[in-house]
Symmetry: C2
Subunit: 110 residues, 2 copies
DNA sequence: TGGGGTACCCACCTCGAGGTGGGTACCCTG
DNA sequence: CAGGGTACCCACCTCGAGGTGGGTACCCCA
């Protein structure tokens, strides 16, 4: 029994909702898990995350960057070279997210 | 650094995705948090969770029941009296979900 | 007798998440 | 000099999540 209500959880707040949605979204989870492992370039992410469309990858990265969970480093060279990595907040998000995903994974297998 | 990849997390699995979506969905979170606190009747839930439509409340409860996170007890009386409560799996889900929501809440406030 | 409460079901509609396919500017390689 | 790689942007379209509003069968209370 966690009695979360006592901890003043209010998911009615739209901003909180949005952040939860970003990190638990289909591509958000995959991006966070991929980057938790190591820094990746855009094209590496695209290959790593099978099935993602370019639009959704960009969109996901942009929202996670706006949430300050993902860091974007664009090296001023040509051809373009852009590196994506997790911020400390991003790593923290994965720490909280991973147990939930693992639990869900275990649930469906039984 | 959690190195979740080493823990064989595969969010590509549609069933795992679905379960994660159910528990992190707008109304799913609110239902789980409300029921974590105590058993509630349908009409109590509707009042407790401000802004939820009847359709979404029913739909959310049905999917969470199918996921075996919520238990439905319909007393065979008239007028109908139906009680909803969390299963052990449901409480476990809240245990994992609550820290994520709390973290998100804290993030947006800073 | 009619108005309200209980716990739903069903048809319809909107609107935005997400996919598809094109274009861009620049470079290197064959 | 044509083709491929990099890291995107943009217009269009589909489809389903979620909302709205109706109906149901039964009861109690005024």
């Amino acid at each position: 029994m966690s009695h979360v209500r006592d901890l003043q959880i209010d998911t009615g707040c739209p901003d909180t909702r949005a952040l939860v949605e970003h990190v638990t979204s289909k591509w958000g989870v995959l991006v966070l898990l991929a980057l938790d492992h190591r820094t990746l370039r855009w094209s590496e992410l695209k290959r790593e995350i099978a099935g993602v469309s370019e639009k959704m990858l960009i969109q996901t990265l942009q929202t996670l960057e706006a949430d300050r969970l993902v860091r974007r480093d664009a090296l001023p060279v040509v051809p373009p070279h852009v590196e994506y990595s997790l911020t400390d907040d991003g790593h923290r998000a994965v720490e909280l997210l991973a147990p939930l995903v693992q639990w869900a994974q275990h649930q469906v297998r039984s």
